[in-house]
């Protein structure tokens, strides 16, 4: 009930909540006019990880299940897409749909045993899952083995998902990011979204209220997996190459989770904020410190993660919210004091 009251309040404050996203959208649409080359590539990476972070957020931020296997969904999506194109010559867009279906089924099949586990047990089971899938792909010759797969070069066209410049790729990933944001807003305001949060806050109580725990968690996992497969399909067609070490990397799973957590769990704009910070940090430290000596970039990167975890565990959006809450509280106090003064007078 309280949530609904809050939401209706937010709709009353129409102006800033519509103007800010609108301005952001215009800037995002204009970005390819402003920058190009490596910088555009960085923006594409930021949007890609923001979309993955949003997908993680549905499962981790809303439903409270800490998954460290999102790189598996992402990598599996890329692999299914690449294999469909190479083995059967299927069109990349059709292959994307196929990969989303297969990874969706896969995520549900994995979810059934894993969701019997809680907390750390679930996180560790997802780590084990990642290792299993990686070992299978490293030892599977038809899927390229340890060397990986190259997507064959075709005629440049939207139909073939291959372009001469980076700009069309940018708009495709932007669409995916916007889609993920719309789904996040839907989750935030829908009945299922309330179920997700109820499960996170108190699984026993939500079970007692009649929420089907496993079914709801599976829905979150399925949504998350399908979105990751979509982004994975984009990525493999963008770089035209895939290998098991790179795509099932445990550190990638950590990165995706980190982006969602750092931005702010269960928030709409958390993933993009987290993604901007993490990608700029890792790319920046790689460019400016990578030359000074191997490993120094990771030292700085790790140090910053520790500092944020210690001093700002609620994420950036969490920090912003607590700041505005404090301001509102202060305002209310001033108003109350005014009322008191009036009554005294």
């Amino acid at each position: 009930m309280e949530m609904k009251i809050k939401n209706s309040k937010r709709i009353n404050l129409l102006n800033p909540s519509i103007i800010i996203p609108a301005v952001a959208l215009i800037i995002l649409l204009l970005i390819p006019k402003l920058i190009s080359g490596y910088f555009l590539h960085t923006v594409i990476l930021i949007l890609m990880y923001a979309t993955l972070g949003a997908a993680w957020n549905w499962l981790g931020g809303f439903a409270g299940q800490i998954s460290l296997a999102h790189a598996v969904f992402f990598g599996l999506g890329s692999y299914v897409n690449a294999c469909c194109q190479i083995w059967f010559g299927i069109n990349p867009w059709v292959a994307m749909v196929i990969s989303m279906i297969i990874v969706g089924v896969f995520s549900v099949l994995i979810g059934i045993p894993c969701f019997r586990l809680k907390g750390h047990y679930f996180a560790i089971a997802t780590i084990a899952l990642g290792e299993i899938i990686k070992t299978i792909f490293v030892n599977w010759p038809a899927a390229g083995g340890a060397i990986g797969l190259y997507i064959p070069i075709k005629d440049i066209s939207l139909k073939n998902f291959q372009f001469y410049s980076k700009i069309p790729y940018y708009y495709i990933i932007l669409m995916m990011y916007i889609l993920s944001t719309i789904i996040t807003i839907w989750i935030k305001n829908s009945r299922n979204g309330y179920y997700f949060r109820a499960i996170k806050e108190d699984p026993e109580a939500s079970k007692a209220l009649g929420i089907d725990l496993v079914k709801t968690k599976l829905l979150a996992m399925w949504l998350s997996g399908v979105m990751c497969a979509m982004v994975g399909s984009f990525y493999v067609n963008y770089v035209l190459y895939i290998d098991p070490e790179g795509s099932f990397l445990f550190m990638n799973s950590v990165k995706i989770a980190l982006i969602a957590v750092m931005g702010g769990m269960g928030s709409v704009f958390g993933p993009i904020i987290g993604s901007i910070i993490i990608i700029l940090l890792s790319e920046g430290s790689r460019i400016y410190l990578g030359g000074m000596g191997a490993g120094l970039d990771f030292v700085i990167y790790g140090l910053l993660i520790m500092i944020i975890a210690v001093y700002q565990p609620g994420g950036i959006v969490g920090a912003f919210n607590s700041y505005t809450k404090k301001r509102k509280k202060a305002k209310r106090q001033i108003v109350n004091q005014g009322i008191q003064n009036d009554s005294i007078a």
Binding site: P113, I124, A125, A128, T135, N139, V299, A309, P313
Partner: protein, 288 residues
């Protein structure tokens, strides 16, 4: 045939003992304070590099420098607790997980910056060659490492179950508040848990430096194996870790021999999955 099987089985047991010691440190920290240290494997990397440095600079064999390495890594664990973990004790589980992830990235980067990404090995180790019993041959450093590991495990187990300090540790892991009301210094117990937990890995790392390659990411594999071991045995349970460590060591070596070395970890992780589906709380874990 039976001789080969015995040889393989013994190899598995020897590997398993080392896993038991590494996982013991993890389960101790988890049991006492409910925090899963994802940088656990990287403590092993630090121990191995410390042993390597002693051998390079002072010509000390890892077996001889073992006490110093153990002390150093134990101290490192206590420092990590004091500088990092102490501050996230009351925050969400997410912050606790990510602080150790940050530490993991930090240690890997640091080791790479200091020692480069090259594979290193101790030159002229004290223990070389193998013991032979009839037709069974076991590599000397590995036998010494497993004997050392199992001795250390026993000592720590006795310390926790038989001494007053050990009881205090157990009390803190049962109920933090009640323990502090009984006059147990909880903060000191946390430091102790981290020091012992890290020292376990220190011993394992020092012993493994004798025969294993040393590189910045050596801890990654052993770290994830120790999570699997701890989860398989049941979080916080020491006998559980013992059983699970042996089971994983034997699965790895026997499976690697009869199937294919490429699939040995696949078997280990699948074993974990099968057990966890049947018993979500692990072999000896308490039902949550």
């Amino acid at each position: 045939m039976s001789n080969i099987f015995l040889q393989i089985l013994l190899g598995g047991v020897l590997t398993g003992f080392v896993y038991v010691l590494i996982s013991l440190g993890l389960t101790l920290i988890f049991g006492v304070m409910d925090i899963c240290n994802f940088a656990h494997g990287d403590f092993l990397t630090i121990a191995m590099y410390a042993a390597f440095c002693f051998s390079l600079w002072f010509g000390l064999d890892p077996i001889i420098s073992l006490p110093i390495v153990t002390l150093l890594v134990g101290l490192f664990g206590a420092i990590v607790y004091w500088l990092l973990i102490r501050h996230v004790l009351n925050s969400s589980g997410m912050a606790q997980i990510f602080v150790t992830f940050g530490l993991m990235i930090f240690i890997r980067g640091m080791m790479q910056a200091l020692f480069s990404a090259n594979y290193r090995k101790i030159t002229n180790p004290l223990l070389e060659g193998s013991f032979t019993f009839g037709s069974i041959a076991l590599s000397k450093p590995q036998v010494v490492a497993s004997i050392g590991a199992i001795t250390a495990t026993l000592i720590i187990y006795l310390f926790i179950t038989k001494t007053r300090t050990g009881w205090a540790l157990q009390a803190v892991s049962e109920n933090r508040q009640a323990a502090s009301l009984m006059g147990i210094p909880v903060q000191k117990m946390f430091i102790l848990a981290w020091a012992i937990g890290a020292a376990c890995v220190g011993i394992a790392g020092g012993l493994m430096a004798e025969y294993y390659y040393i590189y910045p990411e050596v801890g990654a594999l052993f770290g994830s194996l120790s999570f699997i071991t701890v989860a398989l045995g049941g979080f916080g349970s020491i006998p559980g870790v013992f059983i699970a460590g042996l089971l994983i060591g034997i699965t790895e070596v026997v499976g690697g021999f009869y199937l294919s070395p490429a699939y040995k970890y696949l078997l280990v992780y699948s074993l974990y999955f099968v057990v966890i589906v049947i018993r979500p709380q692990g072999i000896l874990g308490k039902k949550a």
